[in-house]
């Protein structure tokens, strides 16, 4: 969890209308980068929505995670355009580079790999998004260099050579 913020603090400013369950969970997810169990219990109490329903919503929608995520979220687009231009191979390569059996978080918690369906940059397929920056026209050969920019011991990302 990020320092200095508690679930109570986040919930202080939110509404107690049960219709706002999803935006509230989105806010918690944004603050803590996942949905901690105590937060779900607190939300359930505050909105007077049964915990099972809060859990149902939290597990139904793709943007919520019940597990903590890594420092960098790597999203490999597997939309149709990216698929036909070779995205599955890029994903495989990425997983091999990070020693992951499938999408998930690395042991050192530096990276969380996810596949997403279409980030809407089909013209630049295949696309990988790391945090907020988009890497267009990805190839297997570019994977290593891309990761290096984000690794703690690697050099910091530079604006000029994105992608």
């Amino acid at each position: 969890m990020s320092e200095g913020t508690s679930v109570e603090e986040v919930l202080q400013s939110t509404s107690d209308d049960s219709e706002d369950l999803i935006p509230i969970l989105q806010e918690i997810q944004e603050k803590f980068r996942y949905l901690p169990e105590p937060a779900l219990r607190e939300v359930s109490r505050k909105l007077n929505v049964p915990l099972i329903e809060v859990f149902h919503v939290a597990t139904f929608y793709n943007c919520f995670s019940l597990e903590p995520v890594g420092d960098h979220v790597v999203q490999v687009c597997l939309g149709t355009a990216c698929h036909v231009r070779g995205a599955p191979r890029v994903l495989d390569r990425l997983l091999r580079e990070l020693n992951l059996p499938g999408p998930g978080t690395t042991k050192d918690c530096q990276f969380t790999v996810r596949s997403v369906r279409c980030v809407g940059c089909c013209g630049l397929a295949p696309v990988v998004r790391v945090d907020a920056s988009t890497h267009p026209a990805m190839t297997q050969a570019k994977v290593k260099g891309m990761l290096k920019k984000y690794r703690k011991n690697g050099r910091p990302e530079s604006e000029a050579d994105r992608g």
Partner: protein, 617 residues
């Protein structure tokens, strides 16, 4: 900005804005849509500002970031006004030359002009580029002209003029009749007549009424709604306000994907500006109409594009659909009459009212009117967003606008309508694209995603891909969709792995029809389309996988092997460096070989081999 209390005050503001624009100075507009941003548009903007400052011209020339122009393939794109000089593939390094050209002799920077691949000639203006020449940009035309975060810019291109006319001169019934006469059909995919839906909602005595803009663009390969929201959000708001007036709704929602942060940001700004001007809120322009809009962010569920699931999601529940009837126009959000329209449908409304139902109805085919926006992606030279009249043929789309297939490959299929659309074969290239023709061919209009595939795409693998997507996105409420998509995917995966059986094909067919007929919502009812169309048009490919254990497109991993052709290998060692499993043997400058026992068939060697010595067999 002043709050406007009457239509007359709006007219004054608009006239003032128009006056300013006539005396305005040269302007450099840079496309800052998601695509061009990924290609470095923000750096270009920065570069232009720095270059102007260095030349001491920052007050003489404006720099503006605009929405998506559609030609994503060639991004970052920019236009120099007033000449309309169109530059493509611009980088930060070009900024100095662009500024010099715009401020001095005004001779365009030759190297940044679009080069026509067939004639080799450079063209200066956007509308001379073949990609744009065949288009009719009713909805997207203003994207390249306005700063989406600036409502005054929208005023300058005639924005909110239609709203003024409606509030001053028209009754709600007039508006609904006009929309009905125009023949506008829902642009979200199903194609239901918009005016009819509005009429049902208007006639419903229940109060309050809600309208919703469906911007949960979930189809992979489609990004037109995103581009419109990013590039011209006020056009959608204006359509919604007119709709609210026509139907008597006081509250509206825009349900937008959280995966589109830029669209969310631009919508927030647009709503705030419209509120500040009094175009949203209480007693809009003194007309007595009250209307507010709330932005709701989706949480990542494809099924929420279905209207009843979307309503459930706004109500804070899981996005599970419920059977219709009752339709939302009868009983929708919180049990009240609700009209849900797609982004493009709402944005069409001001155009139709402004230019008249007859003008709109004259575009398109007998039953599909107006323009349709497609995202032309996949194995195509000119990737991007294309707005064309309904009824255009696939041939015109792919060869005239799209510029054909890259690397001289052959067109194999076009996948239209998102994951639950269908794959049409190259033999249907002269099919006119409208709602009926596509449905008849086994596909559907959907949201307008158009993925072009060449001979290197395996149709069985593609069907498996779509089924995997739909299995993941099925909400799980009804049995046929939940279990059916899973079974279909399992069978398809088995065929791709070379373990298919003869009897698999009739089972696939039978199960597909069962899922279509018995599923609860549109997702399940259309989910088997990719399987059915690939079986209908590419059955031989399935049979080759099953009978010969061979993948003709050389895609399915279990059915291919990598080899190095000794006569072509120059021993450059590039493949050895990218191979992660040490499967490539051989010294530098000597012919290499692949150890098939170690090879995991990732294809990295193929990607880097310059002399094309790596073969797939």
């Amino acid at each position: 900005m002043p709050k406007l209390h009457s239509v007359r005050e709006l007219e004054e503001v608009r006239t003032e804005c128009l006056k300013q624009s006539k005396t305005s100075k040269p302007c450099l507009t840079v496309c800052a849509g998601s695509g061009c941003q990924a290609a470095g548009a923000l750096d270009v903007l920065k570069g232009l500002r720095v270059a102007l400052e260095r030349a001491g011209m920052q007050d003489a020339v404006d720099v503006k970031s605009t929405g998506c122009h559609g030609f994503c393939e060639k991004g970052p794109l920019m236009i120099v006004w007033p000449e309309g000089t169109f530059y493509n593939r611009v980088t930060q390094r070009d900024a100095k030359d662009i500024v010099a050209s715009a401020t001095n002799g005004r001779k365009p920077v030759e190297r940044l002009l679009y080069k026509d691949p067939t004639t080799g000639e450079r063209v200066v203006r956007e509308d001379e580029v073949p990609f744009y020449a065949r288009q009719q940009r009713v909805l997207f035309g203003n994207n390249g002209r306005i700063d989406p975060k600036n409502i005054e810019d929208y005023f300058r291109v005639g924005g909110y003029q239609t709203l003024a006319t409606v509030l001053l001169l028209k009754t709600p019934e007039d508006v609904i009749q006009e929309i009905k006469r125009s023949g506008l059909r829902g642009r979200g995919g199903a194609g239901f007549p918009t005016g009819v839906k509005w009429e049902v909602c208007r006639a419903n005595p229940a109060q309050p009424k809600y309208i919703i803009c469906n911007a949960d663009e979930g189809d992979p390969g489609a990004f037109m709604d995103r581009s419109l929201l990013e590039g011209n959000p006020h056009s959608v708001l204006e359509g919604m306000i007119i709709g609210a007036f026509a139907m008597g709704a006081n509250e509206g929602y825009i349900y937008v994907r959280a995966e589109y942060p830029l669209a969310v940001e631009h919508l927030r700004v647009a709503i705030r500006q419209a509120e500040e001007y009094g175009l949203l809120g209480q007693d809009i322009l003194g007309s007595g109409t009250n209307f507010k809009i709330k932005l709701v962010q989706g949480a990542g569920a494809f099924v929420c594009g279905e209207e009843t699931a979307l309503i459930a999601s706004i109500e804070g529940r899981v996005g599970e659909p419920h059977p219709r009837p009752p339709y939302p126009a009868q009983k929708g959000l919180r049990g009240k009459p609700t009209v849900i329209n797609n982004v493009k449908t709402w944005a069409s409304v001001p155009q139709i009212i402004n230019r008249g139902a007859d003008w709109y109805a004259a575009i398109g085919t007998a039953r599909s009117k107006g323009t349709m926006v497609f995202s032309l992606v996949g194995k195509i030279n000119n990737t991007g967003l294309v707005e064309v009249p309904m009824g255009i043929t696939l041939r015109e789309m792919i060869y005239e606008i799209g510029g054909g297939i890259p690397k001289g490959k052959k067109l194999k299929a076009v996948q239209i309508g998102g994951p639950s659309g269908g794959c049409l074969p190259a033999s249907l290239i002269d099919l006119p694209i409208d709602y009926e023709a596509l449905t008849q061919a086994g596909s559907m209009m959907g949201s307008g995603g158009m993925v072009v595939m060449d001979e290197d795409t395996c149709m069985v693998d593609l069907a498996r891909y779509f089924m995997e997507f739909l299995e993941e996105e099925s909400c799980g409420k009804c049995f046929p969709c939940r279990e059916g998509t899973q079974r279909l995917r399992e069978i398809l995966a088995r065929i791709c792995a070379g373990k298919g059986k003869e009897e698999d094909l009739p089972v696939l067919e039978e199960m597909s029809w069962m899922i279509k007929e018995t599923s609860l919502c549109g997702l399940g009812q259309t989910a088997p389309n990719p399987v059915l169309t690939t079986l209908r048009y590419f059955r031989d490919e399935y049979e080759t996988h099953i009978r010969e254990r061979r993948c003709p497109a050389k895609v399915c991993r279990e059915l291919i092997a990598y080899e190095i052709e000794p006569t072509l290998c120059d021993g450059c060692h590039a493949c050895v460096q990218v191979c992660t499993t040490d499967a490539i043997l051989g010294e530098k400058k000597k012919v290499h070989t692949i150890d098939s026992g170690k090879c995991i068939k990732c294809g990295a060697c193929l990607e880097v081999c310059q002399p094309k010595a790596v073969l797939v067999t």
